[in-house]
């Protein structure tokens, strides 16, 4: 189950936007990233998943030239990093580990400052681009306020605005919806889709699995510094096994019958009047002929006198896939 099982999908529209080979980072004795082979196809919305401490942020920092790799190579937009960062980074917008702002400057002046840091950005169009970026994240009204008076959500938006100061080929977003209310999260997701529709590749790290499922076309999962799997979101979700769910008041009896029919990993969850028996039906029959064997299972339950209220397979989610791949809950530190 573990290991680098997933093959990179064929790049969409030519070369990969991000490609790493054996990328490794060691901090002292601790191995933060271990032999990472990552391929992000052009035009994708790429979800980068992993528990806290799994090496996601270190990977992003290596891709952005902030941290030098201990071994291995990384290319971003076809050029090697960090050697070519002067040519690469003007084409990349980034939000890394939350926004960081000058509290004593207004929102607008923060953007002016970050734009001035890029030697390839045109000073003549600066104020227009800043105004456009503020408009895009919905901060025009608060642009004159000092950034220290901003809420976390507003800071997050301002960080996004600085990533959108110019048309970018690649947008790297580390936890972009952190600290936002549900409405703000929806807006950011809509913005990500909009930017992606313009042809920008989006590399999105998140710990929110449903967020990845909603907006991403591709995903990779990291655990303990290693890449566990990468592929399209559809492929990954398909790896998650479906679960057989029986709703009944006679949970114990049902569990016995299912066990007798080689259903494994049976869980009994008691409700007040009702119960749920869940199990992994893959032991019953080879996958594929499962649909044919399900009616037999159902018949067996009824024959044993189990009062079945509900019976069926629940489709696997990305979360199931994740738990199956990493063998741990999502928020557990690696």
């Amino acid at each position: 189950m573990r290991g680098r099982g997933g093959q990179a999908p064929a790049p969409v529209g030519g070369a990969a936007v991000i490609r790493t080979r054996g990328l490794t980072k060691r901090f002292g004795r601790q191995l933060a990233v271990d032999g990472l082979d990552l391929t992000v196809p052009r035009g994708s919305v790429f979800g980068f998943l992993g528990p806290n401490g799994s090496g996601k942020t270190t990977t992003i920092r290596m891709l952005m030239g902030l941290v030098a790799p201990s071994a291995g190579v990384a290319t971003v937009l076809g050029e090697s990093m960090p050697q070519s960062l002067g040519r690469v980074l003007p084409r990349v917008g980034a939000l890394i580990e939350g926004p960081a702002l000058y509290g004593f400057l207004s929102g607008r002046d923060n953007l002016v400052r970050f734009d001035a840091a890029d030697p390839t950005s045109d000073p003549r169009t600066r104020s227009a681009r800043v105004a456009e970026a503020l408009e895009r994240v919905g901060l025009s009204a608060a642009a004159g306020k000092k950034a220290r008076a901003y809420s976390l959500g507003m800071k997050q938006r301002l960080g996004l605005a600085s990533a959108l100061l110019r048309p970018r080929e690649l947008l790297v977003l580390d936890e972009p919806t952190n600290g936002l209310d549900p409405q703000g999260m929806r807006e950011i997701r809509a913005l990500v889709r909009e930017v992606a529709a313009e042809g920008t590749t989006v590399f999105l790290s998140s710990h929110l699995l449903d967020e990845i499922e909603q907006v991403c076309t591709h995903a990779a999962v990291m655990s303990k510094g290693r890449l566990v799997v990468q592929g399209t979101v559809a492929e990954l979700a398909a790896r998650a096994q479906g679960r057989l769910v029986v709703r009944t008041a006679d949970t114990e009896r049902a569990a016995e019958v299912l066990a007798a029919h080689r259903v494994t990993a049976i869980q009994v969850i008691h409700g007040q009047l009702d119960g749920r028996v869940e199990g992994d039906p893959s032991g019953v029959a080879p996958v594929g002929s499962l649909d044919e064997s399900l009616p037999e299972l159902c018949a067996a339950l009824i024959a044993a006198g189990v009062r079945v209220r509900g019976f069926g397979l629940e489709r696997g989610t990305l979360e199931d896939a994740f738990v199956a791949l990493t063998g741990e809950g999502f928020d557990v530190a690696g």
């Binding site: 919305v45 920092r61 030239g65 003007p90 084409r91 960081a100 004593f104 042809g199 979101v233």
Partner: protein, 299 residues
């Protein structure tokens, strides 16, 4: 999977530009301008300059009140203090002589020490670097802004000294240390020259502060380290047993600016000072560059 299809369809006709724009001269210099604005728009900078500006006023008022007692004992106190009551212009020189050993380097230590480490503390450093500011360019911009602060700090002391001196005391021809008398105009010219020498005298400290600033991600630690170093070096400079190393301390020739008040001007000490500052800028500038260009930015 409709999202994949949507992305593929979009990927076929990207709106975004293919290549990077060229770096322009105005684009390159924008960071230097931004850095200067950032330095002088901070409340902290204004507070430091305000404190420096208050120093000559304080000295002037004290001298004015205590005038009677000072005439007798001209041997104690800071340089030129005895001359202040005869000529207000000397308040500028007194103030610079008082400010240079401790107050000026303290403020410069704050600005230079915080330069890179402060950005690391607030996290803005990573956004500047991914902009991409370029590490050497950022360091150069920080150095430039800190030098501009040295000039502003020296000017704050000199100007308030001149204004306070001319308000509180008579102003006229200046009797130099060598006994010659020069016109007020020439003494003002010498004052400008002295202010320039004092400002440049701080450049070695700027380089040291910038280097310390690249060592840590804590702005407070870098500021305290730089200011602490100034104090330690000043103490070392007073210990007679250390006479062998004292000519290499960056503070050693600071007060030689007084030689510019002689006729003819005695340049030896001043040139020693400027040469030593250039050496410190070269050594610590190179160290800061070596450290900063290879450092992992994890803050």
């Amino acid at each position: 999977m409709s999202l994949v299809e949507a992305a593929e369809a979009a990927g076929a006709a990207p709106r975004v530009a293919a290549g990077p724009d060229r770096a322009t001269v105005s684009g390159f210099l924008a960071l230097f301008r931004s850095e200067l604005l950032l330095t002088f728009r901070r409340v902290r900078t204004m507070a430091l300059l305000g404190a420096l500006a208050a120093l000559p006023v304080l000295i002037g008022v004290v001298v004015k009140i205590e005038t009677g007692g000072l005439h007798g004992g001209g041997d104690g106190g800071p340089p030129f203090l005895a001359q202040v009551t005869q000529n207000g212009v000397f308040l500028t020189f007194t103030s610079l002589a008082v400010a240079l050993p401790i107050f000026l380097p303290m403020t410069v230590g704050v600005v230079a020490g915080d330069a890179v480490a402060g950005e690391a503390t607030s996290g803005t450093l990573r956004y500047l670097l991914v902009a991409p500011a370029g590490r050497i360019r950022l360091l150069a911009a920080k150095f430039t802004a800190a030098l501009a602060f040295c000039a502003a700090a020296t000017l704050a002391v000199a100007l308030t000294g001149l204004i306070t001196g001319s308000v509180l005391f008579p102003v006229g021809k200046v009797v130099l240390l060598s006994g010659d008398t020069v016109s007020l105009g020439e003494s003002l010219l010498r004052m400008v020259l002295i202010a320039a020498v004092v400002a440049v005298s701080l450049s070695g400290l700027v380089a040291i502060g910038l280097f310390i600033s690249t060592l840590t991600s804590s702005g407070i630690a870098a500021m305290a380290g730089t200011v602490g170093l100034v104090v330690i070096v000043q103490v070392l400079d007073t210990i007679p047993q250390l006479a062998a190393i004292q000519p290499w301390l960056f503070t050693h020739y600071w007060l030689t600016f007084a030689d510019l008040l002689r006729h003819p001007v005695y340049w030896d000490g001043v040139l020693h000072d400027l040469g030593l500052q250039a050496l410190y800028v070269a050594v610590f500038g190179a160290a800061a560059w070596a450290r900063f260009s290879s450092r992992d930015i994890t803050a």
